[in-house]
C-alpha cells in the first residue's frame, strides 16, 4: 500500500512554497516536554528561542533515560500543507497500526507529520539530512544546543504547532543499534527499524517570557479580600472537578 508515495520531486516542490514571513514571532520562546515512545524510557525537555530578526532559532534538547546507546536522529516534525500547519499531538502506542509492538517512524506520521527540519550537530538542517545519523547526537542521554538554525517561512508563524521527535530505540535489550536487524526502517532499507523508530516526542507550545500585566489595581482597595476570594475559588473548582460533579451557583450569586 502506498497511500503516501513521496518522491524527491514532491519534497522539493513543497520546500519551494514560501509564505510571507511573519514579523510577529521574533524573540518567541517555545517549549516542549519529551515523552517516551516504544518503551524507550526517555524523557526530557526542548526549548526553542527565535532570533531577534526572526530568521533563525536556537534549539536546545535535553533528554535522558534513552535505552539505545547509539545515534539518535532528531527532527522537528509537523503536518504542513502549504502555509497551514495542523495542530496535532504526538503518537501513542495505539498508533501501532500493524500491531507488531513497535510504533515505527511512519506509523507515527499521522500524528507528528513529516520531517520539517533535521536537528543535526553540524551542517545542513533541512529534511535532506533526516537520516544523516552520523550528524546527530548519540548515547543514552542528549544535551543538544544549536543556534542559527534557519526557519523555513511556512513554519515561522506555526512553531507552536510542531513536534520534536527523537528517534533510535533498543528493541532487543542489548542497548546498541543492531545494523543487521531483520526488520528494516520503514523509511530506508539502509537502516534497521531500531535506528528510526521514535524514542521520544514532544509537542511545542509558545510560552510567556514575561509577566502578563492584566490589572491596574482599581479593585484592590482591600487586597486581602481579593486574595482570599481567588484562593477559595481555585479550591472550589478543584474539589468539584475531582468528583466530576457539576455545581450550580445559587441564583442570587449569578453574575451580572
Amino acid at each position: 500500500m502506498k497511500r503516501l508515495a513521496l518522491t524527491a520531486a514532491a519534497v522539493v516542490a513543497t520546500l519551494g512554497i514560501a509564505s510571507p514571513a511573519s514579523a510577529v514571532h521574533e524573540g518567541s520562546v517555545y517549549e516542549a516536554q519529551l515523552w517516551p515512545l516504544n518503551d524507550s524510557g526517555a524523557s526530557g525537555t526542548v526549548e526553542i528561542t527565535v532570533s531577534d530578526d526572526g530568521e533563525t532559532m536556537t534549539v536546545g534538547v535535553s533528554a535522558d533515560g534513552l535505552n539505545l546507546d547509539g545515534p539518535h536522529a532528531m527532527h522537528i516534525h509537523g503536518i504542513v500543507d502549504g502555509e497551514n500547519v495542523a495542530s496535532s499531538v504526538c503518537p501513542t502506542a495505539a498508533d501501532d497500526a500493524d500491531g507488531d509492538g513497535i510504533v515505527d517512524v511512519l506509523e507515527g506520521a499521522p500524528r507528528y507529520g513529516g520531517v520539517q527540519l533535521s536537528l543535526t550537530t553540524e551542517g545542513d538542517t533541512s529534511p535532506e539530512s533526516a537520516l544523516a545519523i552520523e550528524r546527530f547526537p548519540a548515547g543514552t542521554s542528549i544535551d543538544y544546543e544549536r543556534s542559527g538554525i534557519p526557519i523555513p517561512d511556512a513554519l515561522k508563524p506555526n512553531l507552536g504547532k510542531l513536534h520534536v521527535v527523537v528517534h533510535g530505540v533498543d528493541e532487543n535489550g542489548n542497548g546498541t543499534l543492531d545494523l543487521d536487524q531483520d526488520v528494516r526502517s520503514s523509511l530506508t532499507p539502509d537502516l534497521p527499524r531500531e535506528g528510526t523508530a521514535p524514542a521520544a516526542c514532544g509537542t511545542l507550545a509558545a510560552v510567556a517570557t514575561g509577566p502578563v500585566q492584566t490589572g491596574a489595581g482599581g479593585l484592590a482597595t482591600d487586597a486581602s479580600t481579593s486574595n482570599a476570594a481567588a484562593g477559595l475559588a481555585a479550591a472550589a473548582i478543584g474539589a468539584v472537578a475531582l468528583t466530576a460533579t457539576r455545581r450550580r451557583r445559587p441564583a442570587g450569586q449569578s453574575a451580572q
Binding site: 497511500r3 503516501l4 508515495a5 519534497v11 513543497t14 520546500l15 510577529v24 524573540g27 518567541s28 517549549e31 516536554q33 515523552w35 526530557g44 535535553s62 503536518i79 500543507d81 495542530s87 496535532s88 499531538v89 501513542t92 495505539a94 497500526a97 500493524d98 511512519l106 499521522p110 507529520g113 513529516g114 529534511p127 533526516a130 508563524p157 504547532k161 520503514s186 530506508t188 507550545a205 509558545a206 517570557t209 514575561g210 509577566p211 502578563v212 500585566q213 492584566t214 490589572g215 491596574a216 489595581g217 482599581g218 479593585l219 484592590a220 481579593s226 486574595n227 484562593g231 475559588a233 481555585a234 479550591a235 473548582i237 478543584g238 468539584v240 455545581r247 451557583r249 453574575a255 451580572q256
Partner: protein
C-alpha cells in the same frame, strides 16, 4: 544531566493519561462535526494578583472516548531518504481547524466582549488597551484546534472592575463561548483553575492537557503591589471543548 517533566506533576504524557481519541473527522472538515467528536475542550484563564504560592488544585475530567486503533491509516513512503515536509496525514485523518476569535461570551459572568489579537512574545506579553476587551495570543492555538488557545483580559482598571474581574467565580461546568470571524462558535467548559506568581508561568499554562481543543483564560490575582502598580500573581482558568 537530568531532564525533568513538569506537566502538573503527572508522570505520564498528557495525551496518555486518559484514553482519549484525538478528534478525527473522516471525509469532511466540518467544524461542527469535529466539535461533536471532540468532547472536551480546555480553556485557560490567567489572572494576576495574590502573593500565595502557585495553586493547581484542579484535576482533569476523565474522558470517555476510546483509543481508535483500527482507523489509523498506514502511510507508506517510498523506501528512500526523501522524507520531507510533504509527508502529511493520510487522507482520512484530519484535525479540527479552529477559528480566528473575535468575540468571547461567558454567560454566568455576564461577559460578552470583543477579542483582539495579542502578541505573547517579548519582554512583556501584550495585553488589551481596552479594559473591557479580551485578547487572544496569536502564538497559541486557534480556539477549536487541538491544544490550548490562550486569552487574556484585565481584572481591573485603575478605577474599577474590568472584563475579567469575576473570573475567579467560574465553576467547573460553566460554559465559555468563543465566536470566530466566520460566525462559527466554539463552546468550552470550565475544568479547573490555577494561580501562579507573575513572571513564572509554568509550561503547564501553555501546553497540552488533553489532545482536544482547550481554552485558557488569564487575568491577574493575588495582592496588588502599589510599588510596582501590578498584581503579584496571574490567575488561570482551564477549559476543555464542550
Amino acid at each position: 544531566m537530568t531532564a525533568s517533566n513538569d506537566w502538573g506533576g503527572r508522570n505520564c504524557p498528557p495525551w496518555n493519561c486518559f484514553p482519549v481519541r484525538p478528534p478525527t473527522n473522516k471525509g469532511g472538515r466540518s467544524l461542527l462535526r469535529v466539535l461533536l467528536v471532540a468532547t472536551l475542550l480546555t480553556v485557560l484563564v490567567v489572572a494576576c494578583g495574590t502573593d500565595s504560592p502557585p495553586t493547581d488544585v484542579g484535576t482533569n475530567l476523565a474522558a470517555t472516548a476510546t483509543p481508535d486503533v483500527a482507523s489509523q491509516p498506514t502511510p507508506t513512503l517510498e523506501p528512500t531518504t526523501a522524507i520531507g515536509p510533504s509527508t502529511t496525514l493520510a487522507p482520512d485523518v484530519t484535525y479540527p481547524e479552529g477559528i480566528l476569535p473575535v468575540r468571547l461570551k461567558i454567560p454566568t459572568l455576564g461577559i460578552d466582549t470583543d477579542t483582539i489579537e495579542l502578541q505573547l512574545s517579548g519582554p512583556e506579553p501584550e495585553v488589551p488597551e481596552d479594559f473591557d476587551q479580551a485578547g487572544w495570543y496569536r502564538e497559541t492555538r486557534l480556539p477549536g484546534e487541538i491544544g490550548p488557545a490562550v486569552i487574556a483580559g484585565h481584572i481591573d482598571s485603575k478605577s474599577g472592575p474590568a472584563v475579567f474581574a469575576k473570573l475567579n467565580e467560574l465553576q467547573p461546568g460553566d460554559a465559555i463561548f468563543v465566536a470566530g470571524e466566520d460566525g462559527t462558535t466554539v463552546e468550552f467548559e470550565v475544568v479547573r483553575s490555577g494561580q501562579y506568581p507573575k513572571g513564572d508561568l509554568p509550561t503547564e499554562v501553555f501546553g497540552f492537557d488533553l489532545p482536544v481543543p482547550e481554552l485558557r483564560l488569564i487575568t491577574c490575582g493575588g495582592t496588588f503591589n502599589r510599588q510596582t502598580g501590578h498584581y503579584d500573581d496571574n490567575y488561570v482558568v482551564y477549559a476543555l471543548a464542550a
